[in-house]
Symmetry: C3
Subunit: 345 residues, 3 copies
């Protein structure tokens, strides 16, 4: 926890998480650390069973702990009683390590093309460019060496990190975050068929990212061919994810790192796709479905289903089949031994 902390008194922090302090509430907390590594300026947390020894030995100034793990009579530590210590940690991290105060304004070397404008306070980092006729909402923070193409719309309070690229015509809602190296609105992987000398066809459909979408580092989201590629509100996309042209993603979805979605596939709301899973094109995944890590989805997935494997199917079925394969392997091995024994007699 090396730097940029904004220290706070333990009692202030306890209020933020609705916790009860037992012990000294007048400690200055400058960081959060595991039980093992925490020192006198740190808050720590007892995350679950199996850490009791570390809890006893911790050097932390105070510990977030669930009431049902805390023995009030015998424990002399300063603690903060909260139902969910992990959740409390997440909240307090935001408090102790606030997003760095941007220096608002336009840095040196920024290029603003004709017709580009912003609606209020804005920060644009060194070497970035805002293309012609693009519009930035209020309180946007654009990092360094960011390229915002032409005719791009960025809503209020968006954060576009260093080296990200928003291609021509991309539309972002409010509070969208795009991390370093992400490419939004790149031309889709489509070519004029049958041509011996084909080049990528234009993909003027663009990309629309609705409010509170987050896009991970080095992730690529292709522009739609005829209509836009759409990412619904509050959907979170991790690093190195590939989203092909014309994909339609609903609200509150989660796409973990290295997931790939082929063209025109539809995710309804609240779909979770675990890491490295791949979805073929032109499929529909129903609301609330959960797709396991590394799954290979080649057909539609029903509302609420949990699938895994290749081809992706009911997760319990997959587990049963994995077990069956183990059993049948043993059976076949056993049969072979029998035959071999028999032959050798």
């Amino acid at each position: 926890m090396p730097f940029f902390a904004q220290p706070a008194m333990l009692r202030e922090l306890a209020v933020l998480v609705g916790g009860e302090i037992v012990g000294d509430s007048d400690v200055l907390i400058a960081g959060i650390a595991s039980l093992e590594k925490a020192g006198p300026g740190d808050l720590s947390f007892l995350g679950g069973a199996g850490y009791q020894d570390q809890y006893e030995a911790t050097g932390a100034a105070a510990v977030l702990i669930s009431p049902n793990r805390y023995e009030r009579e015998t424990d002399s530590k300063t603690v903060v009683l909260v139902d969910d210590p992990h959740e409390a940690v997440q909240i307090l991290l935001k408090q102790l390590f606030p997003a760095p105060a941007s220096e608002w304004g336009i840095s040196q070397g920024v290029v603003i093309e004709t017709g580009a404008r912003w609606k209020g306070r804005v920060a644009i980092g060194r070497g970035s460019a805002i293309g012609s006729d693009s519009v930035l909402g209020e309180n946007c923070r654009i990092g360094s060496q960011v390229i915002v193409g032409r005719g791009v719309t960025v809503g209020d309070e968006c954060v576009i990190s260093d080296t990200a690229v928003l291609c021509d015509g991309v539309v972002l809602g409010n509070r969208v975050s795009v991390l370093a190296g992400a490419r939004v609105g790149t031309p889709g992987f489509g070519f004029v068929p049958g041509s011996s000398n084909s080049r990528r066809i234009p993909h003027p459909g663009g990309c629309i990212l609705h409010d509170d979408v987050e896009v991970g580092a080095n992730t690529t989201i292709d522009s739609g061919s005829v209509e836009a590629t759409v990412i619904g509100a509050r959907t979170k996309i991790d690093n190195l994810v590939q989203i092909a042209h014309n994909v339609q993603i609903g609200e509150d979805c989660i796409l973990v790192a290295q997931v790939g979605l082929a063209g025109s596939t539809v995710l309804e709301d609240r779909v979770t796709v675990a890491g490295q899973a791949g979805l073929a094109g032109h499929l529909t995944v129903g609301t609330g479905a959960r797709i396991g890590a590394q799954s290979g989805v080649i057909g539609d997935i029903a509302v609420g289903a949990t699938v895994s494997g290749y081809p992706a199917r009911n997760h319990r079925e997959v587990l049963r089949q994995v077990a069956a394969l183990r059993r049948i392997t043993l059976i076949l091995d056993g049969l072979e031994s029998l035959v071999a024994d028999d032959a050798s007699e």
Copy 2:
């Protein structure tokens, strides 16, 4: 379809796709949209069965339709009869949304190192650099913040998009396209063996991308160690693909997103590798072979073969095995039930 269209009369568009207009040929078309979303300035298309209702209700100015779906007597819509409406859409997208007219010339802040030169008209965007002794062909468009290393050769009419990097010594043919964030010619993943303090060995072999190759966003192509990594003419590479050192790819291959090729593997001509497939090193994949999504290829693949799964094998065999596993699981479950029933009697 928000912007940058170059509208055209329906009759001009029909000529381009060899289509017959039934209805009003004097409509100005400014975009292409699905049947559902098309408005009075849009051309739409009837892509297949199952869209008849949307066809009836569409607000499109005209619809591309196959003659065998069109009932001339009863239909009052303006249509363009073409054998393959999907192909026609691709062609017309190129017409309606032409590549933006580059402003030819060198932008501000561009660095041209000694000995770098170009053969004719060229566009180089802000903050880009052309390394010493590099040569750009005619009509090349280099985006913003592109880094062209030293001794690089770029053919005619190449497009290098924003933030791409061409490392020292890379050779591109004509009409090569490299999308945002692609890294071509990065050092291969090889180290002096046995050293306790090893660092990457030099990979001076370079990369050669022949005519009409396309490289997707954030894709990485490593330089060869002893000889060049080679991508054959007209091969198309999608986003986030990894191509290791010394790989040799033939002509007219297709590599879909997130594919990975390990070192020294050879793809002959017209090989298709679907998304997220991985190939081990030092393999040969025969002409025309098709490698399914997420396949794990650990041996040579015969000419014309279609493979899938891990380890990748004949695709039909994989399907039969998936089915067999389902059947054997049911059989084992049934046997267990029998034993359990028997035991409880």
Copy 3:
């Protein structure tokens, strides 16, 4: 082998690999090439069985060859006898193609924020930025358009390639190499749970990369949430790898391209993870374990184990199961034929 060679006499090269020359030691060598492609200025190598014809026909000036493949009486070629020709090639590549001599100093357009400093000789390329209070060690080479955030520590002799990003607070040891487009210290994929309008929580834990770590092109390494994400000394990471927040990697590990490690997973020392493998979060992989390509690891892996498949398990077991599945498929097909034959009688 197009360029940048630093030619040397064969006898000098032989000394470097402890080889015995048979033939003319006064040849100037300007490159290394395969037997098939080598010309009169090239050194080549006989890498294994099956290349005898190419060896006979090669135009190379000299060939690295193992003594047990060399027939001294009958062979008239100039050769260098070495036990391991492949290893010798790697060593000589370093000699013949030395890392280009950096022009030390600060290029034009570089931004040095307040408090940033360096300890000795340094090279910083065009358009790069060193954030406030960051420290560079001696003899560091920072490429072009590199972003070094605030409070970053870079050890001696590090190489940060063009367009790489080191986020705020990242710590690098000595001789660390970060290739083009890599993002080190990006915020982890974690959100305040339960919030309907959640945004990424801060990840102030940072990243620590110890001595001699190498990070591939377009790879992403997320910052830790509470404590640092740590990469141990001499660990080599290939292109397009994803390392999530709080991952702890030991020394001398190898992570091949497109591998993904989920949050808080621990790799002990000398672990090898082959291409496209994925590891779930909060796991421990024991020292010396080997994880096969495309494996899906969902549980702890024992010290020294070799695993593959999904879910990852003993590699031999996987091979036996693959074989068993093939056999059982044939058996079931045979049974069905019997039943069909029987029914048709």
